[in-house]
């Protein structure tokens, strides 16, 4: 069986890789490209720990084939900070203690960033529903929701 050659863009970097036809984007990111910030919590799209954006859309990278990345713009947690400068969401997660173990954090941050891009001023309910696909077992979500809404507020004020 021959591997598939894929040309794509990841966090702005032109990237090429070879993958098997049945290999998921998550496996490609983690095992072929060393981008282990995206986590596998379930492999079935039920936990959101592998969240990335593809063409600006939030997806579970475990439910997408690597081959489907051809020509796409992929965004992962590794591309969220700009150099040493953290994204406001990243800062707020630390400030609000919105992470305990931190395994769900990359997926939640990618999902929350996508939320604020689509809806800069979400209500608590909108925030909770948008993030319902990102399981967190440590925090009970309280501090996560507060951090996201606080980041949204700061970003609105800054713009």
């Amino acid at each position: 069986m021959s591997k598939i050659h894929v040309t794509t863009t990841i966090n702005g970097d032109p990237t090429e890789f070879l993958c098997e036809a049945d290999e998921t984007l998550l496996d490609v990111l983690r095992d072929r490209l060393g981008l282990t910030g995206s986590k596998e919590g379930c492999g079935t799209g039920d936990c959101g720990a592998c969240s990335v954006t593809v063409g600006g859309r939030l997806v579970c990278s475990c439910l997408m084939l690597g081959a489907e990345a051809e020509g796409q713009e992929i965004g992962t947690i590794e591309g969220m900070a700009e150099g040493e400068s953290l994204h406001p969401l990243q800062k707020k997660f630390i400030e609000h203690a919105a992470l305990q173990c931190g395994i769900c954090t990359p997926g939640l941050l990618v999902a929350a960033k996508s939320l604020l891009e689509h809806n800069p001023d979400p209500t608590e309910e909108e925030t909770r529903y948008w993030l319902a696909g990102n399981l967190c077992r440590c925090t009970g979500y309280d501090k996560i929701i507060r951090a996201v809404m606080d980041a949204g507020k700061d970003m609105r004020e800054a713009s």
Partner: protein
């Protein structure tokens, strides 16, 4: 395993015709990849339809909407005219999974996965949606309700695949709604689902109705008795009670890890009533 991503329906039909093994259609992939991961599906080939012309677009046709087979729930929700005409279908598709899943999952995929609990299917059946199917013998139209034949089984022939879903034109004072019951607020498979589509006349009397239930039979079922209960009424309390009773009577569910026979039977009636009230409000009833 081989991965194919043709750019035309003709090429796709050719690829499918040339397959000797198990070839699966990939649209949003949110069911297929789960099945592959668990070992329930071990296809020899995958045919990704997302690069085929028209698969990712929503177009107006005869006053209705043709929704490409690879259009995601999120893309549907972003189409204002489609949302205005078929809010129930859009909300049903938007209920499939998380935000992440909604960015990928499609009505056509939900239909062809042939789960009795598929969220978009009762809404589509209530809407009278028609699937367009391409295959070795050309293109044919088939009512959505006739595609699933049992859990995981469809009436599609060898080499056939759904290319689009057509949602017909809506008269004034017509609308729809879909409700499902899940144990949590998100992320679950419907324990019961109900789609209701109605048309009212100027006086608010229901002139046409279609009601469909999910997860209460081996396939999504249309409930004509439920529609009969509504037509000719102002969707008042007696009519809603009759609707509710008809839906509970039509349900023939099983007990499983998600719900019991008693629960599903009762809640089918509850949801039908609630969905009808929403549809009525949306249709502009006073």
């Amino acid at each position: 395993m081989h991965y194919h991503s043709p750019t035309s329906v003709e090429d796709a039909v050719k690829v499918l015709a040339a397959q000797s093994g198990d070839c699966r259609i990939l649209a949003g992939g949110t069911d297929l990849l789960v099945r592959m991961r668990s070992g329930l599906a071990e296809p020899d080939a995958i045919l990704d339809i997302k690069r085929i012309d028209g698969m990712r677009s929503i177009t107006r046709e005869e006053g209705g909407f043709r929704v490409g087979a690879a259009v995601s729930g999120t893309e549907m929700a972003e189409h204002a005219a489609l949302v205005a005409a078929w809010p129930g279908v859009v909300e049903a598709t938007g209920l499939i999974g998380s935000t992440q899943i909604q960015g990928r999952a499609t009505m056509a995929g939900n239909l062809c996965n042939a789960s009795p609990a598929a969220d978009s299917v009762p809404a589509m059946v209530a809407a009278g949606a028609v699937a367009q199917v391409a295959g070795p013998n050309g293109v044919r139209d088939i009512p959505v309700a006739q595609i699933p034949t049992g859990p995981g089984k469809t009436s599609l022939g060898p080499g056939e695949f759904v290319t689009s879903i057509f949602l017909p034109a809506r008269p004034d004072r017509a609308s729809d709604a879909y409700l499902r019951f899940i144990p949590r607020t998100e992320m679950d498979i419907a324990v019961v689902g109900c789609g209701v589509s109605i048309t009212l006349d100027a006086s608010g009397t229901c002139t046409e109705a279609r009601v469909a239930l999910g997860a209460v039979a081996p396939t999504v079922i249309e409930v004509p008795e439920a529609a009969t209960a509504l037509v000719g009424t102002p969707l008042d309390d007696p009519a809603l009670s009759a609707l509710s009773a008809a839906c509970s009577a039509a349900a023939s569910p099983i007990s499983d890890k998600r719900g019991t026979v008693e629960f599903r039977t009762h809640v089918a009636g509850v949801l039908a009533r609630r969905a009808a009230v929403i549809a009525k409000t949306r249709a502009g009833a006073a």
